[in-house]
Symmetry: C2
Subunit: 309 residues, 2 copies
């Protein structure tokens, strides 16, 4: 037993004193050294219109578009102004409601357990981050967080390996899901809290929604179920003192898989479970090589299209 | 295998320890020995009307009232039928959205952290359980869960000690918050997903909402803040092997408070922190005896009134 520490806030890419190189350059070009304290470049009307076109929604208050796409780091080194955080909070609330309603209506007799899993899968960090990338909304994000562009690039490459959802194997940059929530929050607010407008836009952006047929299992759950059925003993082992968060999976006492992911224990566990499952399936002759399926190719095409717009 | 009647009698006998005494009595009176398998008493039109009166909402589909107030245990020993669970799931979704909107609108510049805490406090298990009790909705709950009536009585006595919210010291029976969510879900569904109707009803039921002024802190957070300010070291200790979940709080290495609550670690921690805080304040001469304030008396009056309706 140890100390009950205050719950750690999810790490944000906000606070670094450094500016991403390309942003710093653009910033200098636009405003030189004479930008007054508190002044930051506004979003161009062309960009606002482009975002509206992606969303299929015309804002009464155009300033909401800018607000929904402005990360806290963007104001550096000036006095902080309005950011997307409050709109993200509102969007999170309305999306929870709308997805609850959608699965409640679609699956008339499904119990709350699967309803909750379906809702979660359609509005979780990864699904929303995928929406941001596939629709090209990340290109309009206003930030000066270092490394963020690189993290987004890594996620884009990784997500293409999983056509629908990785089910807990990927760790997308939080800003990507944030801006989808904030844009939906902005529409909800701008339309005088019209949930149908918010739903119409989200339904189009998130298409195809994850259905009961495409809903996958997290590897940890899958491994536990598999081992229960086949009467194998399964144990997750991790060294609490190891800062790399290496997780090992023992099946009937033997090492079956391991993974290292320092940022989040849950992801390390899922990756280790996935490795163990792959090994088990290989051993049992059920191993299937992961290839880029037709579905993935299709998603890649959409992605390229969106980014070329 | 005997006759239907004999089978029934046998089942009745088996079920008696499971059935709350008053329900068992009512059940016998209404349906004697001849209730067919799968048959359960419907809710009376008078009860439906009484619930509608409490809610201030008239249902187009009256069967939703019955469904929203029927716990899974109610069907025992017959074939299970519709329960409140799906409506509770829907109600949870719409309440999250509506409270997000409410605090977003009320506090125009408040950051997401406090917004989230305010939202949570107004729709958490305890707040909703208090709403159920204060409005007398628990009297319409249809269940055969043993001990539940006793648990509700204990919660009613305990909640009166905290006029607004215990902030993590109480553990209300989940069914109480469930039926508030399910009734709100039922209204949302019945009104063709009209969030304004759902909000109008909840706003009245939950009055007064917890505001930034009445929002309290959980004792664990309060203790950490207090000890940080006064430069004291604080540590929570619990024996992982102890099934009673005893939690001890050490301040500067000395035992300052402890609590035992076997059902939930979080509640044991909060109670231990509260004990430590009380001791600290006493030591520092700031101890205030807890008395039934004017606000509590008022709530007791409302409660009596609701239960006499």
């Amino acid at each position: 037993m140890g100390t009950a520490a205050a719950e750690e806030e999810e790490e944000e890419e906000t606070s670094s004193p450094m500016m991403a190189p390309h942003v710093a350059r653009e910033h200098r070009e636009q405003h030189g050294q004479d930008a007054p304290p508190g002044f930051v470049p506004p979003m161009s009307p062309e960009d606002v219109a482009a975002v509206e076109a992606v969303l299929g929604y015309e804002f009464a208050d155009k300033s909401l578009v800018e607000q929904a796409l402005t990360h806290g780091s963007f104001y550096y080194p000036y006095r902080p102004g309005e950011t997307y955080e409050r709109l993200e909070y509102l969007g999170d609330g309305v999306l929870t409601c709308l997805m609850s309603r959608e699965v409640f209506r679609t699956y008339r007799t499904l119990p709350p357990g699967p309803l909750t899993r379906l809702r979660a899968a359609n509005v979780d960090k990864e699904k929303l981050a995928r929406v941001a990338v596939v629709r090209g909304l990340d290109r309009f994000l206003r930030h000066k967080a270092p490394f963020l562009e690189g993290q987004i690039d890594v996620f884009i490459k990784e997500m293409c390996m999983y056509p629908v959802h990785s089910n807990g194997l990927l760790d997308p940059p939080k800003v990507l899901s944030d801006i989808v929530e904030s844009l939906i929050g902005a529409i909800y607010f701008d339309s005088n809290f019209n949930q149908e407008e918010a739903w119409r836009v989200f339904r189009n952006l998130a298409d195809p929604l994850i259905s009961l047929e495409t809903l996958g299992k997290h590897p940890v759950s899958e491994l536990f179920e598999f081992c229960q059925k086949t009467r194998r003993g399964v144990k997750f082992v991790k060294d609490e003192w190891d800062k790399n968060l290496k997780v090992e999976v023992l099946i009937d006492g033997e090492l079956a898989g391991s993974a290292i992911y320092a940022k989040k224990k849950e992801i390390a566990q899922n990756r280790a479970a996935k490795a163990a499952l792959d090994k088990l399936k290989q051993t049992m002759g059920q191993y299937q090589t992961e290839s880029v399926s037709a579905e993935v190719s299709e998603q890649l095409d959409t992605l390229d299209l969106a980014r070329k717009l």
